[in-house]
Amino acid sequence: MSDIPAPKVNRWPYLIPLAVVLVLAGLFGKRLLDVEQGKDPSLIPTVLENTPMPAFDLTPLPGRGDALRSEDLKGQVTLVNFWGSWCVACVAEHPMLLEIARSGVVKIQGVAWRDEPDASLAWLARHGDPFDKVGQDPRSHAAIGFGVVAAPESFVIDKQGVIRYKEPGIITREKWQATIKPLIERLKSEPLTK
C-alpha cells in the first residue's frame, strides 16, 4: 500500500478558519484590555476639539447674576460644565469643581441642563456654588451644540473661543492635575490674537 503515491491536496485553505478565529480573538482581546485600562467603549469620540464653540445666550437662574453668553467668554480661558440637579454623577464631581473655583485657576461657567430653575438653585444652595455664571438650557440647544451626551461633561475654551478639550465625564483629581490644569495654564499664556 505504501508505494501508492498520496494524491496531492492543497491543505492551506483549511487554515483560513483558524486564522479568522485568531484575528478575532486578537481584536476582542485588545478591546477587553482597553476596557480594563479604563477606556470606555461607549464614549463617542468628540469632533469638536479645536472648533469654535457654538454660539449661545442662556437665561440666568432667577436672582443669580447675568445671562451666560458665548460672546462674553471670549478673551479668557474658561471651563464650561454641563450639569443638572437630576444628575447623580454631578454630585460626585462637585467637590472637585468647588476646589477648582477656590484655587482661582479658571472661572467655571455652569450650564444647568434640562433642569428646573428652582431645583438648580436648591441644588447649588445645598452642595455649594463653584460657578461664575449659570445659564439655563432647558431644551438642550446648548448641549446639542456642544455634542453633549450625558452630564457631567466639561469643556476647556481658549481665549479665542475655541474648544480645546472635552472631558466626557467626571473631572477627577487625577484628570485635573495631569491634563486639564496644565492645559489651562498653557492656554492662559497664549496671546489673544483677535
Binding site: 500500500m1 508505494d3 501508492i4 503515491p5 485553505p13 461607549s42 463617542i44 469620540p45 468628540t46 469632533v47 469638536l48 457654538p54 434640562r114 431644551r139 438642550s140 440647544h141 448641549a143 446639542i144 451644540g145 456642544f146 455634542g147 453633549v148 451626551v149 450625558a150
Partner: protein, 153 residues
Amino acid sequence: MKWSTIFLASLLATAAVAVEPSEMLKDPALEARAREVSKHLRCVQCQNETIDESNAEIARDMRLLVRERITAGDSNDAIMAYMTSRYGDYVRLQPRFMPVTYLLWFGPAVVLLLGAWAASRRMGRRYKEPSALSAEEQSALAAADDRQEGGRA
C-alpha cells in the same frame, strides 16, 4: 388558540415610536420630513436606537430640534450636517460612503464573490474526469492487485 394569537400579534409588531403627539408639527408634510430625518439619527445616549424610537431625554430634545430646524426652513441635509458637525459621523445611523467605510459597504459583496469563486473551483474539480494513471501508478496498482489475488488464492 391563545398561542397562535400571540404569534400573529407578534408579526404585526413594529419598532416602537417614541414621538409624542405634543411634539408633532401641525403640518403633516413637515412632520413627515421630521420623522424621516429622525429615523436617520442615532440616539447618542442609547447608541442602537434612532431618535425616533428612543425614550431618552436627549433623543427627545434632538427630535424637537429637528422639528425647530425644519420649521425654520432648513433642508434635511442641512439638519443632518449640523448634527454630524456636533456629534460626528457616529450620529448617522446609515454610514456615509467614504474611504473609511468602503469595507463596510463592499465587504459583504466581496465575501460573496470570494465564496462563489471558491465554490465554482471546487465543483469544477469534482466533475472533472479523473486523469489517466501515470506509468508509475499503473505498475503500483498492478503490484497491489497481484498481492491481493495471491493472498486470496
